[in-house]
């Protein structure tokens, strides 16, 4: 019930750890952009809606990229929103290219950087096959790792390069030059024959990294598990293993297990209810329950990103009823 650690922290650290000031500051920015809202509903109501939407994870919709990646909660909320909005792509079995997935991401976040989508696609595809089609779930899980652990993976890439080049990033900790040389020679020799780096050495470096990393990183025990199954591995081999590891997916808490990815009865019900209200759509929706035979390459309907922000937020607030119970786990 009580966590003494939380109560013992200095004020500023407690606030920083939970990003309280980030959200308060953002709430004020939003308020300044929507001054007419306060005169109508009052400030307290405005803040209530803002903080409720943060809890429910709908606060990131149609926001700028810098905000979306500002906190781990925002990142998880964005992943979840992406999954919920475009789940039908996977359900229909459509395969899309990297650029098409990027367009979908931009529907939720207009200034989403292409670089990040490319990096995620590179986990799924080989370098020379970047135009190939990917399934929704492959892309989603690769994207999750790349987006959520982005800073961590950058550090991992640097460590990997050092190891490949025969440098041991841990040499500061093991300073005896003889042992360093001893290790160097065979690594260089092997690198020409074998691909990648030695898993156990790689793990030592990563363990060290997890300890001092200030951004989120995957649970070290699971990283160890991934690396203890193999002798050697490449950087992308490591990323693929991370993205397919269901324990890491669970620890992150934004997406369901791979098997349940297409299964979201609450949203399905809500969708059906909404579709039933649109007279023109009823026929096509009920006559074609096997939607998979439709080549629906057009992106699903979402609110256009250039709509004024406060407008979009009100839309979310209305549909919140159905999402509440599934969203609780991540807050």
């Amino acid at each position: 019930m009580l966590s003494p650690e939380r109560l013992a922290l200095p004020d500023y650290e407690y606030l920083a750890q939970r990003h309280v000031l980030t959200y308060m500051e953002d709430a004020v920015c939003q308020l300044l952009e929507n001054k007419e809202d306060i005169s109508q509903y009052g400030i307290a109501r405005f803040f209530t809606e803002y903080f409720n939407s943060v809890c429910q994870g709908t606060h990131i919709l149609f926001r700028e990229f810098s905000f979306i990646q500002a906190t781990p909660h925002n990142r998880a909320s964005f992943l979840r929103a992406f999954w919920r909005c475009f789940r039908t792509v996977g359900k229909n079995g459509d395969l899309l290219t990297m650029r098409e997935y990027h367009c979908l991401l931009q529907l939720l976040c207009p200034d989403f950087p292409l670089e990040l989508t490319q990096k995620a696609a590179r986990i799924v595809l080989m370098d020379d096959a970047m135009d190939c089609l990917m399934s929704f779930s492959d892309f989603l899980f690769a994207f999750q790792i790349q987006f959520y652990y982005s800073e961590f993976l950058e550090s991992v890439a640097a460590i990997y390069q050092d190891l490949l080049a025969g440098k041991n990033p841990n040499t500061v900790i093991v300073p005896t030059s003889s042992s360093g040389q001893h290790r160097q020679r065979p690594t260089v020799g092997e690198a020409s024959v074998l691909e990648g780096v030695e898993a156990s050495l790689f793990y030592q470096c990563l363990e060290n990294l997890c300890d001092r990393h200030k951004y989120s990183c995957p649970p070290p025990a699971l990283v160890k598990e991934v690396l203890s199954n193999v002798q050697r591995l490449t950087f992308y081999g490591f990323l693929v293993a991370l993205s397919k590891h269901h324990g890491i997916n669970q620890a992150l808490g934004a997406l369901p297990d791979k098997g349940d990815l297409m299964h979201d009865p609450a949203t399905d019900e809500e969708l059906e209810r909404l579709l039933a209200q649109i007279p023109g759509l009823v026929n096509s929706a009920t006559a074609n329950p096997e939607a998979s035979c439709l080549p629906s390459r057009t992106p699903p309907r979402v609110g256009s990103p250039w709509r004024p922000l406060h407008h979009a937020r009100k839309l979310d607030a209305e549909s919140d009823g159905s999402t509440e119970e599934t969203d609780e786990s991540e807050t």
């Binding site: 019930m1 009580l2 966590s3 939380r6 109560l7 004020d11 407690y14 606030l15 920083a16 939970r18 309280v20 000031l21 980030t22 959200y23 308060m24 500051e25 004020v28 920015c29 308020l31 300044l32 952009e33 001054k35 306060i38 009052g42 400030i43 307290a44 109501r45 803040f47 209530t48 903080f51 409720n52 943060v54 809890c55 700028e64 810098s66 905000f67 990646q69 500002a70 909660h73 807050t331």
Partner: protein
């Protein structure tokens, strides 16, 4: 955090908790000033300052949910209070005051004693604010009603908490000083937690199939608890905690339960209500009556 600071350079630092230096030209500075003025004028600055203080005082596990709840409550009570409409009836006003006091009391767990004491103080002020006809001060009737509400919301069975209420209640017309009020609130919250723990304990003893516990085991546990509590009468403060702790340790408790089972008394069931009532009675026996 660095990325956050860079966000939207056109919007200047909104409230005075952002003290990091942002690039601000003369025009940006002007808008910043007007925005700061605006925020101060409409009361946002003051409101957020108060909210932040509450967060720091209570240190909730989930501060964002806490804030949502905090502002929701504020929004609920402001129109009724400051509205230009007709004044609410005396009874409604009383209910509002009770609700507000309860809300303050629940902001922090009683183990966070400083925060809890502050909140008790605020709740006391809420309740003793003078009505139109009444003199300021808290009377026994309101105090008793608050105690009842806390117990009811705490989901403890009525017969379990009734003896406590009897002990710490004041007469309806009596004025209740802050000290008595604070002690009463604290005792009430501690008892509720005690009863909840006792309920969990009972669940462990309970036979899942029959939904009752063995009387011999239940009584043994209660006796051990009583022994531990009695120990605190004899020794000075730090020693008695240790003494009670050791008596309640897994070893001695298991020993007592084992002995109870071996004893050749006939087995009979003990219900949850009975167990809770007896456990609570042990606690309530230690509470000093008011007056």
């Amino acid at each position: 955090m660095a990325a956050v600071e860079k966000r939207r350079p056109a919007v200047a630092p909104a409230a005075n908790f952002t003290d990091s230096g942002r690039p601000a030209g003369p025009r940006a500075a002007a808008t910043a000033e007007s925005e700061e003025d605006f925020l101060r004028q409409v009361g946002v600055t003051e409101m957020l300052r108060a909210a932040l203080l509450k967060v720091l005082e209570a240190r909730p596990e989930e501060p964002i949910a806490f804030l949502a709840h905090y502002f929701e409550n504020m929004g609920l009570r402001s129109p009724a209070n400051g509205g230009a409409g007709e004044p609410p009836g005396q009874l409604l006003l009383q209910q509002q005051r009770l609700g507000r006091a309860l809300w303050h009391l629940r902001l922090a767990h009683h183990s966070q004693r400083t925060a809890f004491n502050n909140n008790v103080g605020v709740a006391y002020e809420c309740l003793s604010a003078s009505g139109r006809k009444k003199k300021p001060g808290l009377d026994g009737r309101t105090y008793s009603e608050l105690l009842k509400r806390i117990c009811r919301d705490g989901e403890a069975p009525e017969e379990v908490v009734a003896p406590l209420l009897h002990k710490i209640q004041c007469r309806d017309h009596e004025a209740v000083p802050l000290g008595v009020f604070r002690a009463g609130m604290l005792t009430c919250f501690v008892l509720l937690e005690f009863v909840a723990r006792a309920g969990a304990l009972y669940q462990l003893l309970e036979d899942p199939a029959l939904a009752v516990a063995d009387r011999r085991v239940g009584q043994a546990v209660l006796d051990t608890l009583e022994g531990a509590l009695r120990a605190s009468d004899e020794a000075a403060a730090p020693a008695c905690f240790l003494e009670a702790g050791s008596r309640l340790g897994p070893d001695s408790l298991a020993l007592a339960m084992d002995r109870a089972l071996v004893a050749r008394r006939p087995s009979s069931p003990m219900t949850r209500e009975e167990f809770l009532e007896k456990a609570a009675a042990l606690f309530i026996a230690k509470v000093k009556p008011v007056g």
